[in-house]
């Protein structure tokens, strides 16, 4: 069973699916949606089966395959996953069907066809799988840059009013990082050529190199800047609020939930094992960026009036925690950081989706345009609150486990940074509860108010009758079945992984421990 | 061997051509000046070919002539069509292709 090409199929199936969906005649939107949903569910199934076939105690990289691609330069089409990549593949498998479902009712102005959107989504899925599954640095780079294309079109063609600006900004930022990384990738090739006699991009071979510390620092920076832009760490972050708020909700979920994780994944997979000395040298600087990002982005999130921008800023804050966990160089913190990557995808994904559902009802992204929604849409409010609680890492939700692991693991080696980061959880409570209170609590107000057809229902005991302006009340539908079907799996994952995270931890920990030994073993 | 005379002549012709290209406005004159420059180069090529006793330079001169002929055809056609639309053969009048 382990010879079964899971990874290749997980790239090929959505890629072929994208071609099929793109080839569908215009106007066959429903068919496009059904095909996309089917394909994304097949990928989820493959991810689950791959996890079942993965031997936790076995080799570091499993389910692998390698065929020569550009033999002259030693480039291979080499795939393989460790525990870290595997959980990311699971996350992709879960999120894409959810995103397809969430985009089911999206409409474009002028009745334009949505088939292209779903084709880009599937192509993005193929590239995202590739980027996590690649074990050849050049292949990784190719997927890293290729991901930009579908995301550029998803933002630029299907986004909000300032979508062109956001898409170009996203593309340029990522491209700058990517090109710097390309230089470093080539640098690695040159080093391997001089040390091994023949150049290679194979991760396992590169890991064994003894690179001169000065060169290490340069190459580290090349990779680091690309990943820091992708993640994003402060001060490379300003593209995310624009992209996150202008992208369609589905795109935003994948952007923040998965795409940005490539950055933190890259820290852990490439920066630490390949450049251990440089990693240790730069760790204090990275930690400063991480902790500054936690606090700075949290404060900024509080100051936002646009809900999608707010969620984007919370993500920047969360990425600070992930970076802290990775650069604390302990197994506990590293494991927590990887789990954080998964949990953040689920929790922030849900938060984006719920915010999107609210925006779909009111047509405005401004917090000030809503108020008292909980009274009329309790399920929406409940999902919103749960997503928010997961975002502020309340115990019992999945994020608590990861945030706790990151902090408790970082404390022994980096107490000062950890104390500052821990203060961030107060700010997290503030920005989530402020948004929740303003939109869901309080008297009814905002864009959802509509003239009453019938007299308002009598208020309950204790709830005084001064709730609504006379003859106007909220007109808002609660979650329908489709939306419940989207929200339910994420809610279930939040709770289940909050109470029993150990299965995921078992997958992640050996890979992180191996990474940490790479880091410690080469000096 | 009086290589110098040929080369000086070629240089003078080239200079006349270059100055003509720079200072004249009439497209036909500019065109002829370009031809003058090309032919001065041809002269140089033939001169060196004769001096070194190889035929490479002569072959190159033939190439230049062929390309020049093609260029004359295309160039005159362009000048003709510009003259027809603008009633002018001054190259300063055709300045639409800019920033």
């Amino acid at each position: 069973m382990t010879d079964f090409p899971f990874l290749l199929l997980m790239i090929a199936v959505p890629a072929i699916g994208a071609a099929v969906v793109a080839a569908l005649p215009k106007g066959r939107d429903l068919l496009a949606k059904q095909v996309s949903l089917g394909i994304s569910l097949v990928v989820l199934l493959l991810a689950v089966l791959a996890t079942a076939a993965f031997d936790v105690g076995g080799d570091r990289f499993q389910l692998g395959m390698a065929v020569p691609w550009i033999p002259d330069f030693g480039v291979q089409f080499a795939l393989g996953v460790d525990g870290i990549a595997l959980v990311m593949l699971l996350l992709i498998g879960v999120l894409v069907p959810v995103v397809v479902g969430a985009s089911w009712r999206d409409e474009l102005p002028g009745g334009r066809s949505m088939t292209a959107y779903f084709a880009w989504l599937l192509l993005l899925e193929a590239f995202m799988v590739g980027v996590f599954a690649a074990t050849d640095v050049f292949l990784f780079y190719v997927f890293f840059e290729a991901m930009l294309v579908p995301m550029y079109f998803i933002i630029g063609s299907f986004g909000g009013p300032r979508r062109q600006y956001a898409a170009v900004k996203f593309f340029l930022y990522s491209l700058v990082g990517g090109l710097i990384m390309l230089a470093a990738v080539i640098g690695l090739y040159v080093v391997s050529n001089s040390q091994l006699g023949e150049g290679t991009f194979a991760f396992d071979a590169l890991r064994g190199l003894e690179i001169d510390p000065g060169v290490q620092k340069l190459l580290f920076l090349g990779f680091f800047i690309a990943f820091a832009i992708k993640a994003p760490l402060v001060p490379f972050h300003t593209w995310l609020p624009d992209s996150g708020s202008e992208a369609p909700i589905g795109g935003a979920v994948l952007l923040v939930g998965v795409l940005d994780k490539v950055g933190t994944f890259g820290f852990l997979r490439y920066c630490l094992p390949l450049f251990p000395d440089a990693s240790r040298y730069f760790a204090p600087f990275v930690l400063v960026l991480a902790v500054a990002g936690i606090l700075y982005a949290a404060l900024l999130a509080m100051g936002q009036s646009d809900m999608k921008r707010l969620v984007a800023y919370t993500s920047i804050s969360h990425f600070g925690f992930i970076a802290l966990g990775i650069f604390a160089f302990t197994t506990e913190a590293g494991t927590g950081a990887v789990l954080y990557m998964v949990n953040h995808g689920i929790a922030t994904g849900l938060l984006f989706l719920v915010v999107g559902m609210l925006i779909a009802r009111g047509g405005s992204r401004q917090i000030g345009d809503y108020g008292g929604v909980a009274a009329k849409a309790p399920l929406l409010a409940g999902a919103f609150l749960l997503a928010g609680l997961a975002s502020l890492a309340l115990p019992g939700t999945n994020s608590f486990v990861s945030e706790f692991l990151v902090l408790i693991g970082s404390f022994p080696t980096r107490p000062v940074f950890t104390i500052l980061a821990t203060a961030g959880i107060i700010l997290a409570a503030l920005y989530i509860l402020l948004m929740y209170q303003r939109t869901m609590h309080g008297p009814a107000r905002g864009v959802l108010l509509a003239d009453d057809v019938e007299p308002p229902a009598p208020a309950g005991h204790g709830a005084t009758a001064t709730l609504t302006a006379p003859k106007r009340s909220l007109r808002v539908l609660d979650l329908d079945r489709r939306e419940l079907a989207i929200v339910a799996p994420l809610v279930a994952l939040i709770i289940v992984l909050g109470v029993y995270p150990q299965p995921l931890l078992n997958l992640i920990e050996p890979a992180v421990a191996a990474t940490m030994s790479d880091l410690g073993g080469s000096d | 061997m009086t290589l110098t005379y040929y080369l000086v002549l070629a240089a003078i012709l080239f200079t006349i051509g270059a100055v003509g290209v720079l200072v004249r406005r009439n497209a036909i004159v500019v065109f002829m000046c370009v031809e003058l420059m090309l032919n001065s180069v041809n002269l140089t090529l033939v001169t060196f070919a004769r001096a070194t006793g190889t035929i490479d330079g002569q072959i190159m001169a033939f190439f230049v002539m062929v390309v020049a002929a093609a260029e004359v055809v295309v160039g005159l056609a362009i000048i003709m069509s510009i003259y027809r639309t603008r009633r002018s053969a001054s190259i300063d009048d055709a300045n639409l292709l800019k920033y």
């Binding site: 900024l300 936002q304 309790p378 115990p395 408790i408 | 720079l22």
Partner: protein, 635 residues
């Protein structure tokens, strides 16, 4: 600490204590409107069932030789050196809390059936209450600091949901948020204490931490103690994090009774008592606990004197009484049991007082202003009687509960035999006088005097489902002090946790202490009668009052300090950072893009469209290249 054994028999099933109310909450929340008709009954039944299980477990525990059993459930988080197992610890301390939580919890659930009968959100209310009970039980039953932390934030969430229960009121929504945030400040302290324990000892479970704490350097232990205290202050509404508790009264009154009087706010006391092995190692932290307790005791009592809102007076009273408990547990071995006894007695009488207040509000169309009450004793005899007993118990009239438990604390303070001890005892006695004053004021304004009701208010006694729990709690208020201090001493029950009680050499005989406290209390009552009882009470509060009254009405300016020290600078900082991010960081990026675009269009100007200038350029370039070539070959 005595040996901890794996649980057998019914104790092995003690996880049911948590699972039952949790399942109740899940059914009610997920079941939706289908459960509206019987949801409140299910919610009550699960808590009563928990109480029965708790009783049976406690009986079994009483029969064991080693009074400490653990229940190992599953691996919660395991990575690297960190191994956190989800497990429960059932020992006399947690048993006492389990019985208090489920017992008082059951009564308040029953009361709420009546109190919330006409509210559309009754099912939701019971779901949240069940969630609270489950989280609170996890807090006291967990066998590690992580389990405690999970319960700790869980009760914070339940508290948030219940304070904001009537969320369409802006005040309720804001109060809930404030409570959560201030609790989070405390939670950071607790979390850091846990990190410090893991860094020093490599474990977070009670057995490991308490067994090894002696090996940790003194300064670190003090740091752990202070961080734990910060957590305790947040949850228990102690100085400097006391400001959220009175605002929390925006929640329905049963919530105030259960969460913000009897159980959740005493979690800080539980934490310090549970961590007695840590505090035994650090006299510094313990002194800070004493100072916090004494200070809060006074702040609460002073603020309680000035408010007209019946629930706020009771809330400040709670703040003050928990100050007593902190003072007690800060005294060390001599005080733990005294503090816990007071906690227990307080659980009875304060819950009873809140339920009584709820009953009054129920009768007065949700009016909370005591200036609009008066003369209610005739209309509501049962409420009056139960409230009166709670009142007497609170101010410590012998032989009701407060007399025993409060005096025990004062005695423990005196037994320190030093100036600080005498000072603490003095503060405690002063606090007792203030307590007598504000409670008597409350009694006089509510039940006596001429009715000052608003038009259309027709007070009536509450239904049996509400009065019954009040009666039970009143009985508890009367008897618990005597039972816990004299008849079945709590100190014997707690001996496995805190060690055998020592017979301290009293400087001042307990009878004398009782006499002094009684005299001071009577003085407080007399003053209250002088100020409030003698004359007519205006229906609006007088505006021109002394600075002292004004300070007390503003709760000694705690909110003002919070606002001007944290909130406004925070808002300013946020606004400034948004500006910096948009104009500075993003501006730099966009500025770079604009510069590139601008310079490209300026360079484009060179393309004039004049063929001859291009030709000149070409010539110049050719000359340059030729010149360079010459220079290279010649040079």
């Amino acid at each position: 600490m005595s040996e901890t054994l794996p649980a057998e028999g019914l104790l092995g099933w003690s996880w049911l204590l948590i699972a039952l109310p949790l399942a109740g909450a899940a059914v009610l929340l997920l079941g939706g409107r289908r459960t509206d008709r019987w949801g409140h009954l299910l919610g009550t039944a699960t808590v009563v069932a928990s109480f029965v299980v708790g009783l049976l477990c406690t009986f079994q525990l009483a029969g064991l030789d080693e009074k400490s059993v653990s229940v190992d459930l599953f691996t919660f988080i395991s990575s690297g050196d960190l191994d956190i197992r989800a497990g429960l610890l059932y020992d006399p301390l947690s048993a006492a809390f389990v019985l208090l939580i489920t017992g008082v919890g059951s009564l308040i659930h029953i009361y709420s059936i009546g109190y919330m009968a006409h509210d559309d959100g009754r099912r939701r209310f019971f779901a949240y209450l069940n969630l609270f009970v489950a989280a609170m039980l996890l807090l006291v039953l967990g066998n590690s600091f992580v389990a405690l932390y999970v319960g700790w934030e869980g009760v914070g969430l339940a508290s948030y949901l219940l304070i904001a229960f009537w969320y369409t009121r802006p005040a309720a929504a804001t109060a809930a948020k404030k409570a959560f945030i201030m609790n989070r400040v405390g939670d950071v302290g607790l979390a850091l204490a846990i990190f410090l324990m893991f860094a020093q000892l490599g474990t977070t479970d009670y057995a490991g931490v308490f067994g090894e704490i002696g090996t940790v350097a003194g300064g670190t232990v003090t740091a752990i103690g202070l961080l734990l205290l910060l957590g305790a202050c947040g949850k228990s509404g102690q100085f400097p994090l006391q400001a959220w508790l009175p605002d929390a009264m925006e929640g329905p009154t049963p919530v105030s009774a259960l969460i913000h009087a009897a159980t959740m706010v005493t979690a800080g006391v539980y934490l310090i008592a549970r961590c007695s092995p840590i505090y035994d190692e650090t006299p510094t932290a313990r002194t800070v606990v004493l100072a916090v307790g004494a200070l809060t005791l006074l702040i609460g009592a002073i603020a309680g004197c000035a408010y007209d809102d019946i629930k706020k007076v009771l809330a400040y009273s709670t703040v003050s009484q928990i100050g007593y408990m902190f003072l007690a547990v800060g005294l060390g071995p001599a005080g733990y049991v005294a503090g816990l006894a007071h906690l227990y007695a307080h659980g009875f009488f304060k819950a009873g007082l809140f339920l009584g207040a709820g009953s009054v509000m129920h009768a007065m169309n949700d009016q909370v202003d005591m200036r609009r009450y008066g003369g209610l004793w005739k209309k509501m005899p049962i409420t009056f009687a139960t409230f009166g007993l709670g009142y007497l118990a609170l101010i410590g009239i012998w032989p009701l509960a407060g007399a025993f438990t409060k005096d025990a604390i004062i005695e423990a303070a005196l037994d320190r035999h030093d100036t600080f001890g005498y000072l603490l005892a003095g503060i405690a006695v002063l606090g007792a006088g203030l307590t007598a004053f504000y409670m008597t004021r409350l009694m006089l304004m509510t039940f006596f005097g001429r009715p000052r009701w608003e038009d259309g208010v027709h007070p009536h006694e509450s239904p049996v489902v509400m009065t019954l729990p009040m009666i039970v709690l009143a009985v508890g208020s009367v008897a618990s002090g005597f039972l816990l201090v004299s008849a079945f001493p709590l100190s014997d029950w707690m001996a496995p946790v805190f060690g055998e009680p020592e017979e301290a050499a009293h400087v001042i005989a307990p009878a004398t202490v009782l006499l002094i406290v009684t005299v001071v209390s009577l003085l407080g009552i007399a003053l209250a009668w002088l100020f409030v009882g003698r004359r007519e009470i205006p229906v609006t509060a007088p505006v021109r009052v002394s600075p002292v009254t004004r300070a007390a009405r503003n709760a000694l300016y705690a909110d003002t300090v919070n606002e001007s020290l944290f909130m406004r600078p925070g808002q300013w900082l946020t606004r400034a950072l948004v500006f910096v991010d948009n104009r500075g960081v993003d501006g730099a990026v966009n500025g770079l893009a604009a510069t590139l675009g601008g310079s490209s269009s300026r360079l484009g100007r060179a393309q004039t469209g004049f063929v001859r200038s291009y030709a000149l350029g070409m010539l110049g370039g050719a000359v340059l290249v030729a010149g360079a070539l010459l220079a290279v070959t010649a040079g």
